[in-house]
Amino acid sequence: MSRAATAGQAGDNLLEVRGLSATYQATAVLKSVDIDVARGGITALLGANGAGKTTLLRAISHALVKTQGSIRFDGQPIEGLPSDAVARLGIAHVPDGRGTFTQLTVEENLLVGAITRPRGGEVRRDIERMYALFPRLADYRGKPAGLLSGGEQQMVAIARALMLRPRLLMLDEPSFGLAPLVVRQIFEVLGQINREGGLSILVVEQNARLALDLARHAYVLEAGRVAISGPAASLRSDPRVKKAYLGI
């Protein structure tokens, strides 16, 4: 099945992807994918390594891949726009590997996140808000981000993305390589910013259990196509998902 089960009318969806195909260095990685991210919702993207999850996020922010098909953000077509334009429209992408500026300080990393916003008090207040969300980072504000642990760098990466004041936050495997306690903290923060700020989230995860607990809607990609889609709750009890991704 490659059609997404849309929850309601098109206006409810902040992001609509239709018929997206993508190639990375001449290999076809995505083959006609349809997904939606509901306004104010959390959508999870699951699948094995190589299924195309990272490529899908890269296609949306138009980084490193060539795409065909339609991508609409808040009704506006964005396919073909350069990645900095996509970011300025309000889509913040936390890439796989986090993309932290290891040689800049933690505070400079946050300032880079806000670089497209007008200078001033708002940015300063947001930086303090980030330190309130991730207290560990405040201790390192003047230190090079490369000195931080993996979990802390993940927090820096998320905070940097949030400094953009995005409408859609996309995360590529935020739990990768992190201790379970740290992962739980990070996912709690994600849930919190979604509840309090209404920020829409699209999260790619290998850790299906975690992702399905957080998300309301989920897709499973297999070999570049959407294999399963539906509300997170029903995917949790879907025997195919349980066997392949939840290890049950």
């Binding site: 900095d84 670089i115 490369g146």
Partner: protein
Amino acid sequence: MTEFAQQVAAGFVNGCIYAMLALALVMIYRATNHVNFAQGEMAMFSTYIAWSLLEAGLPYWAAALAAVAFGFVAGTLVERVALRPLHGAPLLSIVTVFVALMIIIQSAAGLVFGHESHSVASPFDGWGRWGQGLLSGHALGTVAVTLAVLASMSAFFRFTRLGLAMRAAALNPLSSSLSGVNVNRVLMIGWGVAGAIGAIAGLLAAPVVFLGPHMMGGIMIYGFAAAVVGGIDSPPGAILGGLALGIGENLLGAYVTGNELKLTIALAVMFAILVVRPRGLLGGKAIQRV
């Protein structure tokens, strides 16, 4: 002892010019991982622009400002027209373009302005002599301008948003894009700044070495050597390398090898560093992500 002091002082002043050129090279290298072999010729052409305006009767500061502006614009054009289309091309192609630019600009200067040398008066001649006759007005002016350039560059990169964007784009272009930075535009501006710095170095060198199409050839060798010695990715290294080379070549030339071999010394130093410690005195190894 006075001769020693004189050699050191003169070497320090020369070192300022080498340091500025090395700084421009380091800036481009950090942003693009490429060495701008045409840096000297661009500086020379900008200096010619100033000279033409001076000959036409403009006051020095207007001519100098125009030359620096020209250097900036020329730098942005080089990025936009000659280098951006080559993004992702093999290294050899890019180096070829740089060398071609070097030759083209030099020939163009000869064509447009002629091949004779011209003496150029220094704007600092009225400053008299300082430090018990150690430093001429021009020498002092050179040091003052170099300090001003270094201070403003440092402030620019540390305290302005554009400076932060440039540093970020050089460190991680993809992450910068994802945060909304237009990496191409930032790169172009960086090239403009390097071109402007080159113009300033050319303006400072012209009263000393006489203006001509080959004016910057020897100086650039010192500039490259300074960048290599200091570390091609280190701004403080560029300054250290420039000053060390300036003072060192003077002392070696005066007391050890004689003046004819000064350029050879610079080349020999560059060679030695590349063999023994390729990253230079202050250059860093890249931080590996764990």
